[in-house]
Amino acid sequence: MISSDMIMELVRLILYVVGFLTFAALNAAYLSLMERKIPSWFQLRPGPVEVGPWGLLQPVADGLKLLSKQILTPQGADLILFKLAPVMVVVPGILCLVTIPFSNMIVARNFNLGLLMIFSFGAVGVFAILLAGWASNNKYSSIAAARVVAQNIAYEIPMLLVVISLVFVTRTFNLHTIVDQQMGGFWHWNVLNLKASIMMPVAFLIYFICMLAETNRAPFDMVEAESELIAGAFTEYSGMGFGLFFIAEYVNIIIGCCVGTILFLGGWDCPFGMLPGLHWFLIKMYALCFAVIWVRWSFPRTQFYGLLNLSWKILIPFALANLVLTAFMLKLFHHA
């Protein structure tokens, strides 16, 4: 009994899958180019310019080269886990994209629990890096694997606390609804929703810091601490195995920035209440991505204990305070 609805649904599904894969791959490729171009502007140099016009073919060349590289498996590595880890790190990242509303119309699946789904899939990536580090049979990778678990657990907590306090305000996990609530200009956005909690800007800052840490970006790049652990958990990966980690890193950044845009910056809403749409969403998201890259090239790496101290001694107390304050203010002023 194949109804036309089911066929339409199938077509829609395939279109979205193809679309998301393209989106993820293109973003990873061109963010990696931006990762090389943007710092080159900070650093008084031209950056990649010779490969294609303005260096635009650079990611293509890199991708093709990585695809055609030999894939080495180190002796003593856990074969199955070693090969599984790069896949495991990319798949949840792309799955998260399913529930993100890019505009009023463009959303693959409008779940009621979209926010929860993103955070639960986001947690899987950590295990993939843990597996990669452990399966590589390399001491540097093992240290990096141990670090990534400690780091992600430490930063998951303040991040979720911030998100919970936000959910208090929005009263839904549905990302589409969350954006809808913020429509009508930047003063309606959650980041400036001082009526709900006067600590909202702080909450956004905590979210941004946690996002940097969760995506293992500098100054919290303990996993790939280049001057300490060679290439961290990815030391033994060659060719596209490494390429997948590379893609996953940028996909995770994209998701982090998407969620930040949706939760705090009003999604596809225009700051001045005109012409809402996909373009505003992308502008906000890429602005956040730019900030991520900016931070990376401006700061040295923190120490590991500094990182944990920041989470447990500063971010978690602030996030908790924010949670309590939000709950209190909601009860007091909004009779929730």
């Binding site: 090389r36 080159s40 650093q43 008084l44 140099r45 031209p46 950056g47 990649p48 310019v49 010779e50 490969v51 260096g55 073919l57 650079q58 293509v60 060349a61 890199d62 991708g63 093709l64 080269k65 055609s68 590289k69 030999q70 894939i71 080495l72 180190p74 002796q75 280049e226 060679i230 290439a231 990815f234 030391t235 033994e236 990966y237 060659s238 060719g239 490494f242």
Partner: protein, 166 residues
């Protein structure tokens, strides 16, 4: 270390695909972060603002040999270091290239004398070398020219103009 796996030659060759792949490889030579001696400083200078290797897409210095395509042997290889250098070469995945930077990596340079006990007289005593860049140390321009020569070797033709000496 692990045995080097011989990469079997393809049964069928696609000329077009090979061209494209070689073009991609030539434009994405990721060198290994690997400094042996004096020349390493000039290698750093080549990556820095004035000369900027990044223009040609080869500034991605990978600290792990597994992710690098190009080994720039920049400096003297001592006999104590030689096994480690060979290991690093073996750890790099195919296809890989070696650029011998400076006289020491070419022939032992100023440290070669009768009765020497400490150095390997040239990187090509240990593994095949694709491009030799002479100098002690070579200027950054020379290293960039060496990388362009390697691109030329990969693609079979040169896509950047040569500058005639004045």
């Amino acid at each position: 270390m692990e045995k080097q796996v011989e990469v079997p030659p393809g049964l069928i060759h696609f000329a077009m695909l090979d061209d494209v792949l070689n073009m991609a490889r030539a434009n994405s030579l990721w060198p290994m972060t690997f400094g042996l001696a004096c020349c390493a400083i000039e290698m750093m200078a080549t990556g820095a603002s004035r000369f900027d290797m990044a223009r040609f897409g080869c500034e991605v210095f990978r600290p792990s040999p597994r992710q690098s395509d190009l080994m720039i042997v920049c400096g003297t290889i001592s006999r104590k270091m030689a096994p480690a250098v060979v290991t690093l070469y073996d750890q790099m995945p195919e296809p890989k290239w070696v650029l011998a930077m400076g006289n020491c990596a070419i022939s032992g340079g100023p440290f070669k004398f009768p009765g020497q006990y400490g150095i390997v007289e040239g990187a090509d005593k240990l593994f095949p070398v694709d491009v030799y860049v002479p100098g002690c140390p070579p200027r950054p321009e020379a290293l960039i020219e060496g990388i362009l020569k390697l691109e030329e070797k990969l693609r079979g033709k040169r896509c950047f103009p040569t500058v005639e000496a004045q």
